[in-house]
Point group: C2
Chain length 243, copies 2
Amino acid sequence: MAQNIYDDPKFFSGYSQLPRQVQGLAGAPEWPAIRALLPDVADKRVADLGCGFGWASRWFRENGAVSVLGLDLSRNMIDRARADTNDAAIEYRIADLNTLELPEAAFDLVYSALTFHYVRDFGRLMRMSHRALTHGGDLVFTIEHPIFMAAAHPHWIEDEDGRKTWPVNGYSTEGERRTNWFAEGVLKHHRTLATTINTLIGTGFTLHRIEEFAPTPDQVAAMPELVEEMERPMMLMVSAHKN
Amino acid sequence: MAQNIYDDPKFFSGYSQLPRQVQGLAGAPEWPAIRALLPDVADKRVADLGCGFGWASRWFRENGAVSVLGLDLSRNMIDRARADTNDAAIEYRIADLNTLELPEAAFDLVYSALTFHYVRDFGRLMRMSHRALTHGGDLVFTIEHPIFMAAAHPHWIEDEDGRKTWPVNGYSTEGERRTNWFAEGVLKHHRTLATTINTLIGTGFTLHRIEEFAPTPDQVAAMPELVEEMERPMMLMVSAHKN
């Protein structure tokens, strides 16, 4: 059973006030980069693993997906997603990605945003996702970047010139990382970039493209605080294909 | 024209005393990991881009390669490689990878160790390498890892627990990096991991595997100073295939 931090009242209260939860996809600066990785979703059957409040699930339907299955570990999330959605072609269900089984060849797109780093066994998750996809299907996901996650104390420091700098240590030591983020001891699983990529390829996916999110000059002009995201990538974005 | 730091007498003198130059491949802790990425080289025609003293070029021949073309920008390197090699099937030539053209479909393996980060236009280099390979050919290379290269001041620091920590900043700002390594102002070109991977895929290569070098427990037992390499990857290793 995964740690269910999203149903911790203190965590949920803080998390719900993030711009991306209040404004939805428009509040997530990486969304344009995700869109560029996504295939045309018209007439596609989509699984949204870690759907949260359902912002992306609804976007898929608005853009022509024939059906969306949104899954999340958190009852809070699923309750809110259901309340905010009026669409019989979107089904929301509580599910633990550590043990989830999806029907075989039932989806054209498996999508996940900032969720897979909570999953302990990435190999199992990839094999299950690969089976759940049809041939020609796509897998698009984002995770916290291993550069962001690796260190024992992941927070900004300054270099000798006073420049914002991110510390990296323990990069090659994979496993649990605990951080304080709206609640204490939030549990994540650090994997190297090589492990993530090689697991995908070993499962049978063809890697299509990766992105390490950095804001565009226009985004920095509109939100100057985003400039620090140029210093180190917070997010890894992956697009892969099942032949 | 690339910076030719290897023909700077001070640089060359220091560089020549590195364990990997004195002992050859046995002095490079990443060599077992490279070997695991290499295809069987028996009966293969190999291009060794940035061949240095020719250690790998000779290894390819000892392992059955039918011919090896070793290229390096440095006259010092090529002179020494020729002096150390007694094998008519290995040809060494001075060449600048920024402008190199190889004959089309003339090689079964393009190999390069710790050289491509000196090359300004990685896209051109990949297109040229792809053309130079036969169908079914392989590209295997190592470069300095972008985590290692990104920062303005790339050196060990300590975190609040006194743990060895590597600083990252400027990761998403690609371009020149100058460091002092046996000589002042050694010029390298920083590219994100995404740029390296996406350039390969965009050129037509299928990514086979990547590694971010970390020592094995046996290596750390034999050379305890290697343990710091667990904190951050110094080297990215890539294996790709031309279909």
